[in-house]
């Protein structure tokens, strides 16, 4: 069972003249099967926290563990390999690579470090795309998809590796209400049914009802940590 544990994680940024602490020392433990929403106003430190959780930003202080492995001290190369094996990312913008088809974008998440792709990956990717309502889009170029479809394709890219941890940065902010709900329903299902750690950064209140756990961050500090009473068997909102 994969857990992500943060111990006194803090981050400073320099504006060129002085250091500014954007994330105060934070303790956090995230477990499988939960959709956690990080919420807070702009500049509160939620994206910084997400970036540190995703091993794309090093903390200035503190330690972070993925199960028993301390990941804060990993080299860039090793951190990349951990991201490849354990993490899935959904960004605010879908960030699909133009020129690659939808299928190739999905498979890239698996083959970004090179090597021959397993024969079963293509059927698996087709299955994920079908599940996300993207049947028939595999060979299409991303520019031909709507915003909602692109975001679902980016979720497919995150899921192809069966990541233990799925980190999503404002995944609904660029979408209309209907597409946003669809995406959140998918993320909720992934957390509950597939038993993954799902963390969603959002300041959109419409996302909160999907949260099993809601963390509010203000001025770099977690100011509230509330758990919803949904259970795995209960339908999402």
């Amino acid at each position: 069972m994969t857990t992500l544990r943060l111990e006194k994680i803090a981050r400073d940024f320099s504006d060129g003249r002085q250091m500014r602490r954007v994330l105060l020392p934070t303790d956090l433990k995230l477990a499988l099967g939960e959709l956690t929403v990080l919420s807070g106003p702009s500049g509160s430190g939620k994206t910084t926290l997400l970036s540190i959780m995703g091993l794309v930003l090093r903390p200035s202080e503190g330690r972070m563990f993925l199960d028993t492995l301390e990941v804060t001290t990993l080299s860039d190369e090793r951190a990349a390999s951990v991201r490849l094996k354990k993490y899935g990312f959904v960004f605010q913008q879908p960030m699909l690579i133009e020129g690659l088809s939808v299928m190739e974008n999905v498979l890239l998440a698996y083959g970004v470090q090179g090597g021959r792709l397993r024969a079963d990956l293509r059927p698996k990717a087709e299955g994920i795309l079908r599940t996300l309502g993207l049947d028939g889009t595999a060979s299409m170029q991303p520019r031909l998809l709507s915003g909602g479809m692109k975001q679902r394709a980016s979720i497919a890219r995150a899921l192809i590796k069966d990541p233990a941890i799925l980190l999503c940065d404002e995944p609904t902010s660029a979408l209309d209400a209907e597409s946003g709900q669809a995406v959140m329903s998918i993320l909720k299902r992934i957390a509950l049914e597939e038993g993954r750690v799902v963390v969603v950064v959002s300041h959109d209140a419409r996302v909160f009802p999907y949260a099993d756990r809601l963390l509010k961050i203000e001025n770099g500090a977690v100011v509230s940590d509330t758990r919803e009473t949904y259970t795995a068997g209960r339908e999402s909102p």
Partner: protein
């Protein structure tokens, strides 16, 4: 997947791909064209030596190139002809004269006299008639590519060179020299035209027997004729080419234009790949975020450079081959030795990779954290 990604990026980013391709094609085509003319001229410089069929040339002492020798005496011919390692030795006389054209004007020509019946050092390729025509004392050859310059003389037409009557006996094909229009004639006729003293030649050509050791025979000839220059044909060819390349400024001129072509191509490749990668920075950051290492990004960028270089090399060589075919039978000197294309391709590949270094640097700077706004 990384190579496929690179290929897809190359295909998708058409404008920048076209720009980088232009750079590669410019290098291959411009440098290739420059080199073909340079090698064509180099061939012209030593054409008499290269097609002489001789193993050694005996010329006057302190020689700097095949065209700048003093006359040597026939007694040297007598000295070497009886050596066991010598299959044959033949004199060659080279002089200058004015060829009278049909309209009465004159054209400067370089006359080469060879001794009948072997005619060693004589013409080697014919468009009309053959070397048998030179058995006639009056006969001379003219080259097809020089016909217009010489007033389009016809076969058997009688004219003058250096106030001496000659008859056009044959038309050669591609027998031309760097130093001027080549006209072949008998040894006696050239002696008349150039007004050289009897028993004096420009060079003595020597052919070794099949079982002779070339190095040892050359050494023996040098020991036997200390007052002469004795060269193997390869040595004399190299000496002549080096002389003209250095002293006429051809080497510097071609070298400069080649460097400029490489620089222009390299800059075009560098700028277009830089622009392309800059516009893809976000994609490289995404690749880093989803698990790509810096070396994976490097593989994609270098693969892009290699794909563009590969396509550019193909297009460039195709254009170059078309040009060389089109100019093959013309008066433009062009020659492309077989070893040049691989060297040119390798050099272009290296310039393409160097051109992609700045782009690579930009790509490697893509931070995975930047994908989170």
């Amino acid at each position: 997947m990384r190579s496929l990604t690179a290929f897809r990026m190359v295909v998708h980013d058409r404008s920048s791909t076209a720009g980088a391709l232009l750079g590669v094609v410019a290098i291959v085509f411009l440098v290739g064209q420059q080199l073909s003319i340079l090698f064509g001229l180099l061939n012209y410089m030593s054409v008499l030596v290269d097609h002489s069929g001789a193993d050694a040339w005996i010329m006057s002492a302190n020689l700097r190139n095949v065209d700048a020798g003093n006359l040597v005496s026939t007694r040297y011919l007598d000295r070497v002809i009886g050596l066991g390692e010598v299959e044959w030795a033949e004199p060659v006389l080279i002089g200058n004269g004015l060829f009278r054209t049909r309209d009465g004007s004159f054209e400067s020509v370089r006359v080469v006299g060879t001794r009948r019946p072997r005619m060693a050092g004589g013409p080697w390729q014919f468009a009309r008639a053959d070397e048998g025509a030179l058995l006639d004392l009056e006969a001379v050859t003219v080259d097809r590519l020089d016909l217009a310059k010489l007033g389009n003389p016809q076969l058997d037409q009688v004219t003058e060179i250096g106030d001496r009557q000659v008859r056009v006996g044959a038309v050669t094909e591609g027998v031309r020299a760097f130093q001027g229009t080549l006209v072949f004639a008998s040894l006696d006729k050239v002696s008349e035209i150039a007004r050289t003293p009897p028993g004096r030649y420009s060079a003595i050509l020597v052919r070794f027997t099949a079982n002779a050791d070339p190095a040892a025979t050359l050494a023996r000839l040098r020991a036997l004729l200390p007052e002469c220059s004795v060269f193997s044909s390869q040595e004399l060819s190299r000496l002549t080419r080096s002389y003209y390349v250095v002293n006429t400024g051809i080497g510097g001129s071609f070298g400069f234009s080649t460097v400029i072509a490489v620089l222009i191509g390299g800059v075009v490749i560098s700028l277009t790949m830089y622009t392309s990668v800059l516009s893809r920075s976000r994609d490289f950051a995404v690749m880093r975020a989803i698990g790509g290492r810096r070396r994976d990004i490097a593989v994609v960028v270098i693969s892009e450079a290699l794909i563009i270089a590969g396509i550019g090399l193909f297009a460039g060589f195709l254009m170059l081959a078309t040009l060389l075919n089109a100019t093959g039978g013309s008066s433009i000197p062009s020659y492309f030795p077989a070893q040049v294309p691989p060297i040119l391709a390798g050099g272009t590949l290296i310039v393409s990779l160097l051109g992609s270094l700045i782009a690579l640097r930009v790509a490697l700077k893509a931070e995975p954290a930047s994908v989170f706004h």
